[in-house]
Structures are given as C-alpha cells and as structure tokens.
Symmetry: C2
Subunit: 144 residues, 2 copies
C-alpha cells in the first residue's frame, strides 16, 4: 500500500497518518511512502520545503511503521508510480483532496485494482500541520 | 544503552546521532532514549520547546532505531535515571558537553560500570541543529 506527502517537518500528525495507513492495509501489509520532491512542492505551493528532499525521505524511511520511502518523480506522473508500485491501497490524508481526486480518476480510467482510502485528521489542530508548526516556530524565534 | 536529548524538531542530525549511538552498543544492544521534559528545557534554556514533551517522546519512539523512549524526570536526577535504567553505555552528542561532564562525574563518584561515548557531529551544518532549523523556518515564514 502507498501513502504520499511532503513531510517537511516530521510531526505527530504525519506519524498518525502513516500508522493509520498501515493499519488499513492489515497486519501483513507493506507501507511504501512516496515523498514529494522539492521541485514538485515548489511548483504546487510557490515555495519549496524547509528540509531538502533527501533528508525528508531518509527521516520518513527511519520510522518503524514505514517499510520503504522513495522520492516522487519530478514531473507529476501518478500513473507511472501506480503502475510501478502496484499498491492495493492508496491512503490519502484529510488535506490531500486534490491527490485523492487525481488518483481516483486515474484508477477508474485505467481500470486499476486499487482502493483509495481517506485517513481522517487526528487529535487537536496543533500538531496536524507543518504550516501551523512553522508559524508557531516563527513566533517563538521572534519573541526570543 | 542510553542517549538523551530534547528532539524538538526531529531532523536528520537527531537520527544520525541515535543510529550512531545504537551502533556503538553493538548489534544486539537496546537503545533507550530519555527525552527531556518541557520544564527541564525551559529551566535550562529560558524557553520551552515548540513541540510538547509527549509528542516529542512519541515521535522519537516511532523511529526504528529506538527501542524505547521515555520522558526524563522533571527534577534533573541523573543518578536516579542511571540507577533505574542501568545502561552499559551512555552516548552524548557533540553539543552535550554539560551532560557529558555531569554523567562522567557521577559515574566516577558512584563507581558505576558505565562507559560514556561522545558521538561526533554529522555532515553539513544545515541539519544538525534545531535552533538553526527554527531560524531558517522563521525567515521562510517572514518572506512569504
């Protein structure tokens, strides 16, 4: 099974998303995580992540729950990834509607035997977003 | 074996420190990590971490290389932790000289069979410090 994301500042929201993704796949499932490239993030959000892609990939891959972490393709090529990895399940986060739509459309169009599962948001808002974390850090640095 | 730290924003420098600590203990060693309490950090640095202690502990414990992660004691009680955990090795980071001195002094004074190993700094400066990471994030938020 496959999950994807930027994982810019690894936090508990990421961990819970990945743990829940693995759980959806059942006890023997392997969790492959596709970590977005710097360029892909830049193209989509207008600025790149704080942590370089290699470091983001290595840290995600160091989590016990993750079986393998790879970098995405520079050009967004969802079909390529799906055909190469052949997951039975693709887990998308609560804030990944765009990816969910794109993956679902592809699966239907290509008739692929893949299920898409949406993982809910966990716990309080505080630790669920790298963006809110960054703002909190900025305030903390400014006040010191 | 035991390693300790704040691990405020988990980054590759932390991971390498923990991996190297585990390696020093040999293939069968168990790595126990003592994660500093918010109050302890506040007392030592004049301000607390960005990520609350429970979340820092859980994320560190989710790393494959870590066998167990526990929170430190609110009052700094090194001797208590050493006597309770009974590690054969204590690994300290390149920036933990204060802890190294305190642990070494205790070990000698109490005649404990514990070795202290200093883990060197890894790679380029960029990812080795939560403080420099926070500054980078603050700049990135300010310029957006």
């Amino acid at each position: 099974m496959l999950a994807t994301g930027v994982f810019d500042l690894l936090h508990l929201g990421h961990l819970r998303f990945l743990q829940e993704s693995k759980r959806k796949g059942g006890p023997r499932s392997k969790l492959l995580v596709v970590v977005a490239r710097d360029k892909t993030v830049f193209r989509r959000k207008g600025r790149g992540p704080v942590i370089p892609e290699d470091q983001r990939r290595e840290l995600v891959g160091a989590l016990r729950v993750v079986d393998r972490a790879i970098l995405g393709r520079e050009e967004i090529d969802l079909l390529g990834v799906l055909k190469e990895v052949k997951p039975n399940l693709v887990c998308v986060g609560y804030d990944q509607d765009e990816i969910r739509t794109a993956v679902t459309r592809l699966i239907v169009k290509e008739g692929l035997p893949i299920k898409v599962v949406r993982i809910r948001r966990f716990g309080p808002i505080g630790f669920n977003s790298s963006s809110s974390l960054k703002k909190k850090i900025a305030r903390s640095v400014a006040s010191s």
